[in-house]
Assembly symmetry: D3
Homo-oligomer: 317 residues x 6
């Protein structure tokens, strides 16, 4: 088997979405969730060869997770089934039109038991890009060690390592996160963060330019700062480049950051220059917010231009 | 049993909501509706001890009404079951994105048969606040007499009486309403109205300041004028205070006025000053319009700050 | 305009169906209900020219009723819109797998205000068959008088009058029903009843043969006794003929009697002999119970043979 | 039978709507679709006597189409049932909040087999207005010939012929369309087009004023240019008149053009002057975009003023 | 506050029901589940005064649980909210028409952290009946100790203690269960078990009569053996009495045993003799299996006779 | 790439299922359908390595088909995307509880354009079993030629060829089918048919034993006769063996035959003897009819024993 374009790992969760307040009950819809699997799907839809690794419960919910990943063409050959632990869950309620609230049921889950052994074979098989997030090391000691090992091994074997900081305040404190993520960033070529996450891979309280300078000094080649509806900034040794977001009517912002990352890495795999990579990044971000779900609205390659120059209320027929 | 914080009475209806034009058929969803029960729920969610009184049909629809009130922690011990009359109904269709149309099926309903006897025990048990609306006296002669008796008895026994004008043009004319509501307002400490309802508790055609002055002269302590997306004005003998609405994306404005009232009365029960009461009033109003349903989106006490400083598309995780 | 094949009149209701206990709330589905409109639809689906007459509320629910009747090809040109009265409603809950419970909200409804004037034009236009039920005269004094007038006028002008007893115990007592229905039956050529309804068109407590003999003696030509899963018996002056029910898996028995009646009258209009009319009657009854809804599963003419010789679990492809 | 107010013909499709990306599967809802049937329904709802003609498959989907048209009071007496061809279908997916994507399955459909013979009787019976669109001639050779024949025959027999250009780029090229539509327009009294469709009934590449001048020169009395959210312009020999759109929250723009046309023609039938016709046109357009579906939200006559002077979030009770 | 009729405690779960295989995804519906809360609801519906005690998570899912219990009129004043542990969950899939599969996510849940301190106040307040199940002691060490303490304290203070064995093989082995449940049974007046659970409160491998004899010898007054569709047997010192099940079409057997228990205890509270208690037990069991859900179909007092003498396909109107 | 366990080819359709009569409209659910893909999924769920080949439309519906196949772990690497033809569709309505009606929209579909070139590579790669059905050759001339070529090439290269007769009377006549299928059967080792399909692979009108004898004489090793609820008979040169169906409550018989075939071939791939293959065949058939959908209820390997010895209404917890 030849090396895949992108390898990523983490916890894939079963997300149960309520259309309104959860306390009211009613019907929940099942979805696949997880920052890394979102990125994997984003790239697979664009035709890249992608593999996802992790531990998945050996029951119907685990089966559900695998069905979704396979449906999207993400390789799952190296997934470990865990017979002893349940699937990680996430309850997501649309509390108001503007506010989504998430509750995790992932303590002790199959996914959080990730360990180095689960990654040996796929990392050994190689990949052009190895993508990791700051969520996985927050899940357990063994997952933290696995992430560290993967970053180190991956970068040493010449993979491009990308790290999305993705701070989850319900999983750990900023201090705990910084102690782990800052060293991790040193293995990465690409670091992706929102503006308020930058100091988690730098000195506490450092401002954007200081934090970025520190990262570049430690060998990171590109630092991407996600700015939501304001687009993004990309820092390299050559300076900074800002890109505006693609204007769309936003209906669901969950997953936008992962889509942005997927777009950027797709541009990298296609050999685009920085401007091209950023353009694809914000394009995927726009697709993510313009449709419901974390990843369901992401484009296939032939759809990449679908949002170009269209106004509100367009019909293609 | 000790006196409750708030006692209210009126008709609780079964609301049947259609997502689009009713004539097209399809699925209707059942909801509890009623201005007074909306206020009761708003206060109960914030932890106040609340009781609702009224006549409820002795069939499955009546059972539904009671299940909803009990679920929300509203006391229903003094509700009268009426074996001879059907539940009052309300058909609510979303005619366009901007226009909701309501049709009542409440003539001859259990709720409209409310009478003084139904209120004797709960009014006798006492309450810190007695809340009434201008809907109940429009339902029947006996309901009108019951409302008058309650206002008089309540104010005489030292309860704070609040009156929400709540004009329903499909139930009676402005003239008929004025003849009943203006005398009623004289028993109230708090009168709540939208700008175009003010002259129903004053002289016909009087402008806002004249109408308010008349009310204050007749002993009303606070006059609240609801201004929708523009917030509200509160008049006392000390002058007028305006408060802006909390900015949210509005998806359903039904129930906003009742939420505003619930917030104001909750602030009163908590001993807040006028500014604090108004702030809570507009906060509850914002929750009401930011979610679907008349009361389903109202906050629990720990959620009161949820809308503070959040922008569009926020996710709490 | 030429005379229609069948004219019928009564109250068409909006039926709100709950899949389980109504007190639990949830989604209700809207349906057209009414014994006479069920019969009208059954005949219209088979290609007969049919008109239905009645009073329909001048609002969205009335519009719904007309949309359904028109969709099914039932003529509604002589329907009276009533601006002052609401639509009659019916709540139908599937209380258990075996037990359906119905609650009417039809007191004071538009449909119950039917009067002679509403029927003058359509009865004047004529019809081959005039179908009436024992429900309409239970609705109001004016509806009772209208039914009596129609039966008398129809039979006098040479229409075949058919009467389905259809006793509704929630609308009137057996005694009240008998006082009205027994005289009415004397105008009918065809009387349809379940076994326990026969004495409502005869002497109180009379057994089947006595009741039937009395009807035949008063000029009724055919008496049809519906036996549910056991089929039906038809009495004429030539004797009695029994027909078995068509075997199907029953999922919803509501509307089966009306389907039976429609089948019988369709056979009459097609000039079939008694055996053929009964066969069509039980065939339509079988369609009614084999599908959900009061009339939704009734066959078009090309589907009449669909249940012939098929076993459980058949697939036509 | 007296002549109807409006006669129109074309293909009525079964539209299968997905709430999100179609590739994700899930539930599709069935709707009636078709520019001509949309116009027919728009006029029937306003009380005009309307007939629609076309070929409809002789199966359940064809039955569905007829049930919808009949429900709306559109005459279907002259519809031809086609036993050999399937129903035309249309898959409509809400790809993003702003972008609707349509896929046709209509090659070889019953509707596309329309021919002159199907139109002889209804055109012979006459109508005040004959409405045609630029979609029908794109469906097949026989449909093109039928459209040409109808336009010619209709205009010769004194019907007001209206033509909505309605270019469908998935059915034919602009060149192919122009070759057919430009001659067709010469039979029309009213030509309706969006700004970028005008040169399909004129010279290639001609600007708005040139194209309009050409049409007026060839005998067209009124040219209506639809401008979406910007309203419309009407050109006659007396000059040009612009009308603004009615401001509403738009939720679904599909069908807006057909609604506009229906409103204009309704105004014509009611004898309104140009300003009145345009006002009704934009009113119906507003109803169309303010509700879901192609035609489901169109107003009955008593609802025409429903959007007047209402702000966001109004409730009528 | 006076003592309630029945007090029970345990874990109330949020049940997520899938209509088909869970791995296929789709919509899940939320329900309240838990053997003890099922019994509590069964009794509350019949008008008994009932309280339920347990630990409930301090989040939206916990709120959901409380809303359901309150809706049903079950007292929850002594419930402990647990801010540190999540709600216990249960995934229930209808794997085939005949086979329901349950997966628990309850390890470490709020409910499983039940302890003696949580029960002190309610047990101190007293109750006529204290109901416990063999599920609670399987949840955790502290829950086991709480159950033991409650049984001992309750029986010592003169409450009638009832114990439903309710073996859950996914929570513990038969051996582990027997070691705890056999001593527990010695405190009970009523022991309820299915035939294959009897030896969990007696000697391993003992047959029904031996096991029952042992229980009666240790002071149990009544042993109820649930036989599903075959009804039940009741053993007392006076001998054995068998009762047949009420015949209904079964659509969902989950909750049948709890309904049986509720019916028996209701009969006890009403002072019925053994025959009357058993009749009510099988009546509630029949309601449970004849409707969907664990408890949703249970009867109110006026519905107790609803299943009497009705055949398939009955309609009450 | 090593050879797969099973290779199959044909048309995979998008099935649109209506819960009741299609003419009534409402919501349709999307499913993957196709006899060959059903068999492929049945085997993939049991862990066999399976590939499916065919032509799939290059649009969203084609994407849907591939997502479903990939989700189930069926190899689709050799699928041809067809940019010029639409997806084949199938409308499936539950006409009555016992009767399912299917309408195809597959004339001119992508799938029906299958040709030899589409099969060269996968057939060249080899497989232990090549499965074909009598549906594919009915789709088009090129599909017929492709089927013939595959059967011949497969058997010549030593694959076990299995043929399921699967007569579709809406696609071709029995005569046309026989002319193609009888020669095809001569290439097969396993022939599967229902009793009334046997003479389509033998002489017209021949009875079961004659038809089977003819097949065995022409080199077929095993003839499987599917008997629905009565199980199946297997003929080999050693004689005949009958197997009973596994008793379950049947809710949807569509797909039962394909499940049977998948079970048999799975047994073959696992090296089971005839009794073991038949037992697995009827087990999969039972899973198919016990759940909704064509293949959705099929078991994973660890679920094969799930139906053993269970009675109605079992719950696993």
């Amino acid at each position: 088997m030849t090396a895949v374009d992108l390898l990523t790992f983490g916890e894939a969760l079963v997300s149960l979405r309520a259309p309104g307040p959860l306390a009211a009950g009613g019907a929940l819809t099942m979805h696949l969730a997880g920052a890394e699997s979102n990125v994997a799907i984003g790239l697979a839809r664009l035709g890249h060869r992608v593999a996802w690794v992790g531990r998945v419960s050996e029951d119907e919910l685990g089966e559900y997770v695998l069905r979704q990943l396979r449906a999207e063409g993400v390789g799952v050959d190296d997934v470990t089934r865990d017979a002893d632990r349940p699937a990680g869950l996430l309850f997501l309620e649309r509390r108001t039109a503007d506010l989504t609230r998430v509750r995790y049921h992932r303590a002790g889950s199959a996914g959080s038991a990730l360990r180095v052994a689960d990654l040996r074979r796929p990392i050994g098989d190689g990949a052009r890009v190895l993508h990791l997030t700051g969520i996985t090391p927050a899940l357990s000691d063994s997952a933290r060690e696995a992430t560290r090992w993967a970053a180190e091994t991956g970068s040493r074997s010449g993979m491009l390592v990308s790290l999305d900081v993705n701070h989850r305040s319900r999983l750990w404190t900023r201090e705990a996160a910084r102690a782990v993520l800052a060293p991790l960033a040193a293995h990465a070529s690409v670091v992706i963060a929102s503006a308020d996450e930058l100091d988690l891979v730098g000195e506490p309280g450092s401002d954007e330019s200081t934090a970025v300078a520190g990262l570049l000094a430690r060998g990171v080649e590109t630092v991407l700062v996600k700015l939501g509806a304001d687009g993004a900034r990309a820092y390299t040794r050559d300076g900074v480049r800002q890109v505006a977001a693609v204007r769309v009517t936003a209906v669901d912002t969950v997953g936008a950051g992962d889509a942005f990352t997927a777009g950027y890495l797709s541009g990298h795999l296609d050999g685009l220059d920085l401007a091209g990579r950023l353009r694809r990044a914000v394009t995927l971000g726009a697709f993510a917010v313009a449709g419901h779900g974390d990843w369901e609205g992401l484009p296939r390659r032939d759809e990449l231009s679908l949002l170009d120059g269209h106004e509100t209320g367009n019909t293609l027929r």
